[in-house]
Amino acid sequence: MTTTTIRHHPSEATLLAYAAGTLPAALALVAATHLARCPVCRDMVAAAEAIGGTLLDSLSPAEMEVDVAAVDQVLERAGLPPAAPAPVLHPDLAPPLNRVRMGRWWPIGRGVRWRPLHVGGRAWAGLLLAQPGRSIPSHGHAGLELTCLLSGGFRDGGEEYAAGDVAEPVGEHDTPPVAIGAEPCLCVVGFEGMRFHGWLGLAQRLGRW
């Protein structure tokens, strides 16, 4: 887990939504990919979860249907084993992506490939692989979008992004992000309500997510 070069972090709003459980699963997965590498943001999430604990503490208790003095009957159901941990499916990928089910790679233009992640929920996520010099497909945002770089680099809006960095754009990209450096750019992208143009838009409409 390298921490040295991270310069771009998710917004406090995104980390708060992650801690509150309101961030759609696809975006939360991208945030978690960053968190696995970034102790600064892990601290922020821990603080936000402590807000959740404090607020839980402060609530007026609701009336329970079960008799809270007779919890033995509740504990009768405790024998059920907790869900088995998700197996490591992709040892070559950074956590938590190594345990996520995903589809096959799809070419979505020259030097750009897309691999959908199976995360469920109302937003989408996938891996995007762009050869050096290739641009990430142009798109507009109708909702939240989060990208975490896994390897390589890209330039977007005058800023350069390296492994571990998170891009959290607002509104339309004026110019599409471009893969820079000598090695291919691999990132995980999560988004809600984004509409791709061109090839990726076609793949999106064909349901190859």
Partner: protein, 191 residues
């Protein structure tokens, strides 16, 4: 008969979870259940879960506390914070069939340092952390407290809060940033 539960019992709550972990202490579970189940249910009701579902989620959350007690590390989180995260993940699982990725990261960490025993020395820091956060929350400006409460209580991400409050997304995000910075400043060296 149970002691009457009070909010100042944070340290005791951590000790009760450890008692379950160490010797499957049913009396400890009964005390935790009496305190937390009605609060988890209240939280679910505020988030718009129907009463039957809220009751089930509250009971299931506490059952998960029983099953996962061995994983509780008082050096990492206070009892309320730990139980909050369990309830949050369970709600996503049951209502949205989504898995909170913190569980995937926890499994990764468990694989890596399966031998590391929890250190109880930091338990005080975590209790102090919850105390300071409670105090700081109480002094937040109203508009900052509102976005925080909506995020936690109404199951709304910042995009939904933008629509509901009719204020620009940038404003929602800057209020959250200001609030988080104040809370982090309040935590100071206990972070």
């Amino acid at each position: 008969m149970n002691r009457p539960p009070a909010a100042s019992d944070a340290a005791d709550h951590a000790a009760l979870i450890l008692a379950i972990a160490q010797r499957q202490d049913r009396a400890a579970f009964a005390t935790l259940f009496a305190y937390f189940a009605p609060r988890v249910k209240a939280w679910m009701l505020r988030a718009g879960v129907p009463p039957t579902g809220a009751e089930e989620l509250a009971q299931e959350t506490l059952l998960m506390v029983w099953r996962k007690a061995k994983l509780f590390d008082p050096a990492r989180a206070g009892a309320s914070t730990w139980i909050f995260a369990i309830a949050r993940n369970l709600r996503l699982d049951v209502l949205r069939r989504e898995r909170h990725p913190s569980e995937l990261l926890a499994e990764e960490a468990a694989d890596e340092d399966a031998e590391t025993a929890p250190a109880a020395d930091h338990a005080f820091d975590q209790r102090e952390r919850e105390v300071r956060i409670r105090a700081a929350l109480a002094t937040l400006p109203v508009e900052q407290a509102t976005v925080i409460r909506k995020a936690f209580f109404e199951d709304k991400a910042h995009g939904d809060i933008e629509k509901e409050l009719g204020i620009p997304l940038g404003t929602v995000k800057s209020r959250m940033r200001l609030a988080m910075n104040r809370l982090r400043a309040a935590l100071g060296d206990v972070v």
